[in-house]
């Protein structure tokens, strides 16, 4: 409860008790079995757990199936242009420390057209949670290769199969200076997904969460093996890591103790062959926060501003020297 609650919650005369219903917007219109739905559910739970006032919560997205998410929340939302969710979210954060900001983005949105913003948003480290719903494909536009599509997979733009190895969003993010929270999870292990988003929301900085997400419509069976064969998942555990509960620990027997302060080890883990590590790769709470810089002077009154402007004008006035 420490990070999630803002002052204004306490100011209310009658304390609200927010339930899941309070975060439910329009009826989700994803395909049956789409992994975006469990992400939505987990996000709603996090909001409820943290009792985030809906009017103080903003979900920002770009364009893609995954970017439809804000429409299904009953909070403020900004469904922007393809690839541009992150600069919008940073702009919102720049002058609004009181808001809770979540970003819903896809592998095309974030890792193709949004690459530059992704790299630099990590660097800015402004407080927000990025949910990268990575289905390894362009869903909304009907099955084109994405940067995270594995080599060999066929799509409408690469009929003979993708010839390039997949970009690993975690490996790239871990190479960016000032990264402060880097985690991975999957849409189909609800407690882990929820625990990860909760930890992200509580992190005092930018939390980057890559979520492996099923797209049954265009990538049927794609994650089936991973989903069925738990030995292919590697659970990263640590006292400072993400605690998803005993059930998850029991389900996933492949575990490794990993201190999220250890960047070098995180990078090695990110590229574990034949296994998908989930949990917290890296956390650095003392990474520099750009929003701290951006928010200076928020409290200045109108008259203080006028005085300051007059002072600047003085410098350019002619008569001041006579």
């Amino acid at each position: 409860m420490m990070y999630g609650l803002q002052d204004e919650v306490f100011e209310e005369a009658v304390p609200r008790c927010l339930t899941l219903k309070d975060y439910e917007g329009g009826v989700p219109r994803w395909c049956p079995g789409c992994g975006d739905l469990p992400v939505l559910t987990a996000l709603q739970r996090v909001c409820r757990d943290e009792q985030l006032p809906p009017e103080k919560t903003v979900v920002v997205s770009g364009i893609g199936c995954s970017s439809r998410l804000p429409h299904y929340m009953k909070t403020y939302g900004y469904h922007g242009l393809h690839g541009r969710a992150l600069p919008v979210a940073c702009g919102i954060r720049s002058r609004r420390p009181d808001l809770h900001i979540f970003v819903a983005t896809g592998d095309g949105d974030c890792c193709a057209i949004g690459t530059a913003h992704w790299v630099h948003a990590i660097r800015y480290n402004m407080k927000m949670t990025i949910m990268l719903m990575d289905n390894n494909i362009y869903g909304l536009t009907k099955k084109q290769t994405s940067p995270t599509t594995a080599r060999g997979i066929a799509s409408n733009t690469h009929r003979g199969g993708n010839m390039l190895p997949a970009l690993d969003p975690i490996a790239v993010t871990l190479g960016i200076a000032n990264a402060s929270f880097v985690a991975q999870t999957v849409d189909w292990i609800a407690p882990h997904l929820h625990a990860t988003l909760l930890a992200a929301q509580r992190h005092p900085g930018l939390a980057f969460v890559r979520i492996l997400q099923r797209c049954p419509h265009y990538m049927p069976d794609h994650f089936d093996l991973l989903q069925r064969d738990h030995s292919r998942v590697l659970l990263m555990t640590h006292a400072d890591g993400i605690e998803a509960g005993a059930a998850v620990r029991k389900l996933l027997e492949n575990q490794t103790e990993h201190d999220p302060a250890n960047l070098a080890e995180a990078r090695v883990l990110a590229e574990t062959p034949d296994k998908v590590p989930i949990g917290l790769f890296y956390r650095n709470e003392s990474a520099v926060r750009y929003d701290a810089y951006a928010q200076r002077g928020l409290a200045l009154s109108a008259s203080e501003k006028i005085v300051a402007i007059e002072k600047v004008l003085d410098r350019y006035q002619l008569q001041d020297i006579q």
């Binding site: 909070t75 922007g80 541009r84 919008v88 002058r95 630099h120 600047v312 350019y316």
Partner: protein, 614 residues
């Protein structure tokens, strides 16, 4: 000491030119503000070298300042320079090429090159002397370096202030103000440097009084109110502060960047900050985010950056997000002439985004307007809930001018973010059927929750693909412009209300066009002119005004085909094109892309040609 002849003049145009790095710009700037502070009207334009690090003693390297001083307010750079101080014999060439010097220009020329050990330099100098004389220049050789070396060991780092002193002597400037300005400029570099420069100033001043045959007296007017002096980019920055804008989101690009350099140095004092984004696209979306969250933001750019913002501008119109966009125009297309003036982003500002994207576009015509238009722009962006574009250009950006000190008011500042609950049931796009206007909820307002989207949407901001909803949204966005247009007045006519020829301009050309028109009117021509401040929507009454003139033409700094050569496929200047569509009047144009401001004399010549005034 010679006896000086005192010549009293209404105005004079002075240039200081050197190799880049020799400080002619600094000297010019000080001379300009000194003159302004004394009470003269001034206009100051930078002379920018064509190369980033040009070779020394080259025509392409000419760097410096032009300062036009007058008793009356001055609003353009003028024609021929009256007095030039040149640090070598090569830099004047490029200025002669663009018509800046000619018959009667008094050229003070550093004479050390005449005796340079390098024979080719001596030869070049000799040739230049002949060339200059054949162009009608009056050359006075002066021993700049020699005099400076009496005081400092490295003349290259002192000549400029000596020259400043010389000009102070020549123009009877108040040496005390000059000393103060020199001190201000050099004190960050330490006391010794400051003292050296004060000595050089004094030496130049005294040398002038001892050696020059004349002194020029340009009487000053007493100002009735406090005046300020600054360049257009500072004025834009200060205007943004006075408008209460707190976020300036940008990516560096010449000639817009100095707006943000200025803000970076003072913005913090009003609690604002400059966000230097990773690119122009991020810059505008960051601003949109801030604005969505209740803080109307600013993004500043120039042509290539504007191109990259086109998609986001469409978003701002579609989702009705207030935003102020400043475009300091430079030469195009593509990288074009990055440091030079042009007015060719007009049609892109209006039509650059795919889809139907109605937005307000305005163009300040002076440095004073650069300031005030920002305050207006912020207010319009919020009232009409969308982007407002302010088109400045490289001429306003680097020119400096005096104008009455603005009386900044708390009303100008944007109000604090609304924290009261939103009235339940009111849609986030409750478009008024008449005006197209609606109010927006801001995050933090209870019951106002909605999802903004760039997709076609209903009043409730729900994605909607129905024909009627899409038509209705487009209509509301268009209606807002028509609503705003109702509050605009017809442009003021400079000159008679009717006549033979009406000249139309927009943006920074106002001063030069006014002056050209005044000159030909003095010879009896029935010419008037107007300068448009609003390009979208256009000010009302244009057709009526045009009807009262036999002929109408625009004067612009952008490309148009000559009427003669175009076989029915004439490419018109951009404002002319716009006005043709708007009024269906036969509107002619005269435009050029010289990379420099249009001098009044150049316009005058064209007007005389068209009026057969020989």
């Amino acid at each position: 000491m010679v006896e000086q002849r005192r010549v009293t003049l209404p105005e004079h145009t002075v240039e200081i030119v050197s190799d880049s790095g020799e400080g002619a710009q600094t000297a010019g700037q000080i001379f300009g503000s000194l003159s302004a502070r004394m009470g003269n009207g001034i206009w100051m334009v930078e002379i920018i070298p064509a190369e980033i690090e040009p070779p020394s003693r080259s025509s392409a390297g000419a760097s410096g300042n032009r300062i036009r001083i007058g008793t009356e307010p001055v609003n353009n750079m003028g024609d021929l320079a009256n007095v030039v101080v040149a640090f070598n014999d090569q830099v004047p060439y490029s200025r002669i090429d663009v018509g800046a010097y000619g018959r009667g220009t008094l050229l003070f020329l550093e004479c050390k090159w005449a005796t340079d050990p390098d024979e080719s330099i001596r030869a070049a100098y000799a040739k230049a002397m002949t060339d200059f004389q054949s162009h009608g220049l009056i050359v006075r050789e002066i021993p700049m370096e020699e005099e400076c070396l009496k005081l400092v060991p490295d003349a290259r780092r002192g000549k400029n202030i000596w020259v400043l002193g010389l000009l102070c002597g020549l123009y009877e400037r108040d040496i005390e103000i000059a000393r103060m300005l020199v001190t201000r400029r050099f004190s960050p570099k330490g006391e010794a440097v400051t003292q050296d420069n004060l000595d050089l100033l004094q030496a130049g001043f005294e040398w002038a009084r001892a050696h020059l045959q004349e002194s020029f007296h340009i009487p000053v007017q007493q100002h009735q109110e406090p005046m300020v002096v600054m360049d257009g980019n500072m004025a834009l920055g200060l205007g943004a502060m006075a408008a209460g804008i707190e976020v300036c989101s940008m990516y560096p690009i010449t000639p817009a960047t100095s707006v943000t350099h200025f803000l970076a140095s003072v913005f913090e004092s009003v609690g604002g900050f400059v966000h230097q984004a990773e690119d122009e696209i991020a810059a505008i979306h960051f601003a949109l985010g801030a604005s969505y969250a209740g803080k109307t933001a600013l993004t500043v750019t120039s042509g290539p950056g504007l191109a990259l913002k086109m998609e986001a501008l469409g978003m701002a119109v579609m989702a009705e997000i207030p935003l102020v966009v400043v475009d300091v125009q430079r030469g195009g297309p593509a990288t074009g002439l990055p440091t030079r003036v042009e007015q060719s982003d007009l049609l892109a500002a209006l039509y650059g985004s795919p889809g139907d994207v109605p937005k307000i576009v305005m163009a300040p015509a002076s440095i004073e307007e650069c300031f005030h238009f920002m305050v207006t722009a912020r207010k319009l962006a919020e009232t009409f809930r969308g982007p407002v574009m302010v088109l400045s250009d490289a001429n306003l950006a680097t020119g400096a001018q005096i104008f009455p000190r603005p009386k900044v008011s708390e009303d100008w500042l944007s109000p604090p973010v609304d924290v009261l609950p939103w009235e339940e049931g009111v849609a986030p796009f409750a478009w008024d059927p008449e005006t197209g206007l609606s109010q927006r909820p801001v995050p933090g307002q209870e019951s106002g929750e909605y999802v903004l989207t760039g997709l076609a949407h209903s009043e409730r901001s729900r994605i909607a693909y129905e024909s009627a909803t899409n038509q209705r949204g487009a209509e509301a966005r268009s209606r807002k412009l028509a609503t705003f247009a109702q509050s605009l007045k017809p442009p003021l006519i400079h000159g008679d209300e009717e006549g033979e020829l009406l000249v139309i301009g927009w943006g920074s050309t106002r001063g030069a066009i006014n002056e050209a028109v005044r000159r030909v009117r003095r010879d009896g021509a029935k010419v008037s002119n107007i300068q448009l401040r609003f390009l979208s929507p256009l000010q009302p009454g244009l057709k009526d005004i045009f009807a009262r003139f036999d002929r109408v033409m625009t004067v612009e700094i952008n490309y148009s085909d000559a009427a003669e050569t175009s076989n029915g496929h004439r490419r018109y200047a951009q404002l002319a094109w716009l006005l043709r569509a708007h009024t269906l009047c036969e509107i002619d144009c005269w435009s050029r892309v010289p990379g420099i401001p249009l001098a009044p004399g150049v316009i005058e010549k064209e007007l005389r040609r068209r009026l057969h005034m020989g």
